[in-house]
Symmetry: C2
C-alpha cells in the first residue's frame, strides 16, 4: 500500500503547492482521495496510471477538494475509459458533475452518497475495506479509513495436499475453518495453515476542527493523514475556521496509537512549513510533511 500526495495545500494554491489530492495504491487498483484543481496535471507529472482508479472518495464539497474532479472525469472519457467508476461523496456532487458535461461519458459513474454525521461501510471485499467517519467542519465532511486485508491464514501447500483437502475448501481454510474428511476425521486448521500478516490501515482525516470523537475510527493505523492548516500561533483562527493545528494533528495520531502521521492542507499564510513539523514532532515522533510527489509506503 503506497500513498502518493498530489496536492498538499489548503484552500488557496500557493508557492507551487496544489489543492488537496491523494492517490492510494492498494496493489490491484488505486483509490483517489479528494481531487483538487490540477489533479490530472499532477497525475501526469508523477506518472500515476489513473485509469487504475475505480473508486473516488470526496471528503466534502469545498472547492479545494473537488474542483479537479470534473477535469479528470472528462479526460478519462477522452482517453477511452469504459470501466465503471464509483464516487463516494456528498449527494450534491452528482448534479454538479452532470451540469458540466456537454456529452454522454463512455463509462458509467455510480454515485454513493455519504450520509452527514454518520459512519458507513463503503467497500468491503476479500481484499479491502473502506469506511467513512464524520469529522467536524463547516459543511458535512468525512474522513475515510482504508484497510488492506492481509490477515487471512496462509495455506501450507504440502500439508493441504497430504491431507487431500479439495480446492473448493481453500477459501474456508484461509478463514480459519477446520477440515472434515469424508470419513469424519477432523483436521485442525493450525495443521494446514499459518497465521496471516497484519492488515495495513491508512486513515484520511480531511478538513476538521480538532475532535477526539474520531479517535475510535483511527486505532492502530499504520498511517494517518490529518490536516494541519495552521500552527499553534494561529489556534484562534484554526478554531474559528474549523481547522486544526499541527500540534492537534499530532495529538490525534498519539491518541490513536498510529505508526506514522502525515500532515498537510497548509494555509497559504505559510511559505515555510518547517514550523509545522517541529510543532507536531514535539508531541509525536513519526511525522512526515505532505508535499507534491511524495510517496509513502504504508507499513
Amino acid at each position: 500500500m503506497t500513498l502518493t500526495i498530489l496536492g498538499c495545500n489548503g484552500a488557496l494554491p500557493a508557492y507551487g503547492r496544489f489543492p488537496t489530492c491523494q492517490i492510494l495504491d492498494v496493489g490491484a487498483e488505486m483509490f483517489l482521495i479528494d481531487c483538487g484543481e490540477g489533479a490530472q496535471i499532477k497525475m501526469q507529472q508523477y506518472k500515476v496510471r489513473s485509469n487504475r482508479v475505480n473508486h473516488v472518495f470526496i471528503s466534502h464539497l469545498h472547492g479545494d477538494h473537488f474542483f479537479g474532479l470534473i477535469g479528470w472525469l472528462n479526460s478519462q472519457a477522452l482517453l477511452g475509459r469504459e470501466k465503471e467508476l464509483h464516487i463516494y461523496a456528498n449527494e450534491k456532487l452528482k448534479a454538479i458533475i452532470a451540469i458540466q458535461l456537454e456529452w454522454q461519458l463512455p463509462y458509467q459513474i455510480i454515485y454513493h452518497d455519504l450520509v452527514p454525521n454518520e459512519s458507513q461501510i463503503l467497500l468491503d471485499t476479500d481484499k479491502y475495506e473502506v469506511i467513512s467517519f464524520p469529522v467536524m467542519h463547516s459543511v458535512p465532511t468525512h474522513g475515510f479509513r482504508f484497510t488492506v486485508k492481509r490477515n487471512k491464514r496462509m495455506m501450507i501447500s504440502d500439508k493441504v495436499r497430504e491431507c487431500e483437502v479439495p480446492q473448493y475448501f481453500y477459501k474456508k481454510l484461509t478463514l480459519g475453518f477446520d477440515y472434515e474428511k469424508a470419513n469424519g476425521e477432523i483436521i485442525k486448521n493450525e495443521i494446514l495453515t499459518t497465521k496471516g500478516k497484519p492488515n495495513l490501515v491508512y486513515a484520511y482525516c480531511a478538513d476538521t476542527l480538532y475532535t477526539e470523537t474520531i479517535v475510535p475510527y483511527l486505532q492502530n493505523c499504520n498511517l494517518i493523514y490529518h490536516e494541519a492548516t495552521y500552527c499553534n500561533d494561529q489556534l484562534d483562527k484554526a478554531t474559528a475556521r474549523m481547522h486544526s493545528t499541527a500540534e492537534q494533528a499530532a495529538n490525534i495520531a498519539k491518541l490513536s496509537n498510529a505508526n506514522q502521521l502525515v500532515i498537510g492542507h497548509y494555509s497559504s499564510k505559510y511559505k515555510d512549513i518547517s514550523g509545522h513539523l517541529a510543532e507536531a514532532n514535539a508531541v509525536f515522533e513519526h511525522v512526515v510533511l505532505a508535499e507534491e510527489g511524495l510517496s509513502i509506503e504504508v507499513k
Copy 2:
C-alpha cells in the same frame, strides 16, 4: 497591450502544457480569455495580478476552456475581492457556477450571455471595444476581438492655451471638432491637435473548423490567435472534430492581413510542435507558437 499565454494545449493537458487560458493586459486592467483547469496556478507562477481582471470572456463550454474558472472565482473571494466581475459566456455557465459555490461571494458577478451564431458588441468605452463573433465548432462558440482605442486626436497644449479653449471642450477636440470662440471665430481642429496613434487590435479565434466567414471580423489585426489543434497530416481528424490545422490558421491570418499570428490548442498527439510552426510559416511569415508563460507585446 500585452498577451500572456497561461495555457496552450487542447482538450487533454499533456507534456506540462495546460488547457487554454490567456490574459490580455490593456493597461488600466486585464481581460481573462478562457479559463482552463489550473489557470489560477499559472497566474501565480507568472505573477499575474489577476485582481486587475474585471471582464472574463469564455469562448464555449467545453471543459478545457472553463473548468479553471470556478477555482479562480472562489480564490478571488478568499482573497477579499469586492469589485464586481463581468463574465461573457454561454447562458448555461451561470448555473454551472452557482451550483458549485457553497457560500455567497463577497463580490457580484454580472453575466452577459453570448448569443449563438451572432456577433455582439460586448464592451464599448473610451478606452476599449470588445466584440464577439461566431466561429464554427460542435457547440456554440465565439471568437473575440479586443480593440484598444488610441486614435483620438492629441491636443497641442501650447496652441490650446493660446486660443483659450475651455477645459470642457477638450474631449470634443480629441474627437476632431473645430472650436468656435465666443466672438464667432472658428479655430480649425488641425491647428489645435495632431493625429492620434493607430488602434491596437487583438483577435482570439477559439476552437473552430476552418472558416473564412470570420475574416471580416479580423481585418488588419495587430495580432490574431487562431487554434491549430493539428497539422495537415491530420486534416481529416481536424475536420471531423471541428478543429483547424496550423496551415489553416495561417491562411486566416493571411486573408485577414494580420501583423502577427499566434497558434495553440495543440492536440496531445503532438509532443513536438515544431511541425506546426513550419507548416504555418509556409503560408504566413510572422507566426509565434503559444506556450505557457509566453508574453507577446501587441504592436
